[in-house]
Amino acid sequence: MPTSRLHSVILDKVMEEASHTKSFSFREEFPVRPGQFIMVWIPGVEEVPMALSQLGPVKAITAKNVGSSTEALHKFKEGDRIGVRGPYGNSFDLSQEHYLVAAGGTGIASVIAASEALAEAGKKVVTVFGAKTKEDLILLERSRKYGEVFIATDDGSVGYHGVVSDLALKLMEDRRFDGVLACGPEKMLQTLEGICRQRDVEIQVSMERFMRCGIGLCGSCSLDHYLVCRDGPIFKGEQLVGLRDFGHYRRDRAGRRVPM
């Protein structure tokens, strides 16, 4: 797998998505499935895992400026080079017909490729998308191409005033979905997992953990006995039931188990 080794790509376009979020696209052909991620190296800075928010011949990542690496990345322009390796991890199982896609914040970046694949396969997608405020809404236009979109904001600046899981619950009370795909803050995922379990709807969530290697060796990304980079990032609800860490603990850079 030549592309899986660290190599560089030239940024094709840098797109402002929202106040603190940008998408970065690059041209490279490699086989990849919705839900997989790559390791993105900002040369001279650090390397972070990022979902592929676009999977065609032109790939893209969508990053929110929240810390040192993403801040550095946000300074990158068209024509600059970043290092990439991957794709890594497993992918969403999209074998059902009718999906609810639930995303919180930049979590949308991890699920939008699944929405696109579903739409392309002629399946039905409904998106519920939550953010703190109106300015944080990203990838909306693209999402709308794949199906209906419902919005929730913490401050009520647009759409439903409240958290995305509540909005998702309302939708699920109205309609029947075969499956839910979700990515966002872990508390949200935990709530959604509970809802789906109760309603007997299959849920798949994309998890995030601190990652060093991305290939199942360093152990940085452990979630109980799972390695998020290799066994995940996509987990079925049933895999998460009973885990000590899910929604409660993460591992820090030193490998300490710390409360979320």
Binding site: S4, R5, L6, H7, S8, M39, W41, P43, G44, E46, E47, V48, R81, G83, R85, R212, C213, I215, G216, L217, C218, G219, S220, S222, D224, H225, L227, R251, D252, R253, A254, G255, R256, R257
Partner: protein
């Protein structure tokens, strides 16, 4: 039927494969999972006195013929590690506690604490090529002898000393460990190396230099085990580039009584332990060996 159980000094192993230190070893759950995947023993991540965040990323990348890592001994620190050992011990295979320190004097207490946590043996990491302080100990027979002696007087479980290949004469260092009472030698740690990505004109690892593991270093590891076997009487464990049964047999014939596997997990998944065992058995059957022991060191004859 052939017999692949083995012993490394007082340590009895159902099979000769162990998880190498630093791979998946910071969490007890992962160690347990590896034990259940068929490893004959598991070695913990090298644990130090304090939590340590390690080096800036990238800290593990795949090269063409091996893996390059500069993790820099990130670890939760000994005080946070009790729970992990306790989980790992549920695996019913020996858990070997790896420890490291920047100063010779800290090895004893660290080792003692590990023993209290319940590990069946200790591994002294005197050999990480990309963590400050340790490189000095790695090449110095006197320091190695001092560390080994201190740990030996602090614990009752067997003490294995893990050596670095980045030295002039590894056999001499193994002798120092033996004379100081070491119960076995683990060889080798990673080979000091680096990689540059030409397109961005920068070293790939956040820490610039790191350690090479995997297939590229197997001939170096086999050489080291072979040399050490001629220099000491204590048992040896081979590590470096083992990914299949023949790799393991090569180390065993060079003088190892068991092998550790790290990067091999990348190439073959966690099934590598089971697979290596089955491949060793198949080899033994084809070539008329009945017990693993018959092969230990026979390349010296």
């Amino acid at each position: 039927m052939v017999e692949i159980s083995t012993t490394v000094g007082r340590l009895k192993l159902q099979n000769p494969t162990m998880l190498a230190s630093g791979i998946l070893g910071d969490s007890g759950d992962s160690l347990l999972r590896v034990a259940r995947s068929g490893a004959g023993a598991v070695v913990t991540k090298s644990i130090g006195r304090e939590p340590r965040e390690g080096n800036p990323s990238p800290s593990l990348v795949e090269l063409e013929h091996g893996l390059l890592n500069g993790i820099g001994l990130a670890n939760p620190g000994i005080d946070n590690y009790r729970a992990e050992v306790e989980v790992a011990l549920q695996g019913d295979v020996p858990v070997i506690g790896s420890v490291f320190a920047e100063d010779v004097e800290f090895y004893g207490p660290l080792a003692r604490t590990m023993e209290v946590y319940g590990v069946q043996a200790l591994e002294l990491n005197l050999s990480c090529p990309h963590a400050e302080g340790l490189e000095e100990i790695a090449g110095d027979a006197d320091l190695i002898s001092q560390v080994t002696a201190e740990v030996k007087s602090a614990v009752k479980v067997p003490v294995f000393v893990k050596l670095s290949p980045n030295v002039r004469d590894i056999a001499l260092l193994a002798q120092a460990a033996e004379e100081a009472g070491g119960d076995g030698i683990i060889a080798i740690n990673t080979v000091k190396a680096m990689s540059i990505l030409p397109e961005v004109a920068k070293p790939v690892l956040g820490q610039t230099m790191g350690g090479l593991s995997g297939p590229a270093i197997k001939p170096v590891g086999v050489r080291c085990v072979y040399q050490i076997y001629e220099a000491v009487d204590i048992p040896l464990v081979g590590v470096g580039g083992v990914a299949n049964g023949l790799d393991a047999v090569e180390y065993i014939m060079a003088g190892a009584r068991a092998v550790q596997i790290g990067s091999g997990i990348h190439y073959r998944g966690l099934e590598v332990f089971e697979a290596v065992c089955r491949e060793i058995e198949a080899f033994m059957e084809e070539h008329g060996y009945r017990r693993l022991e018959e092969m230990v060191g026979i390349a010296h004859e």
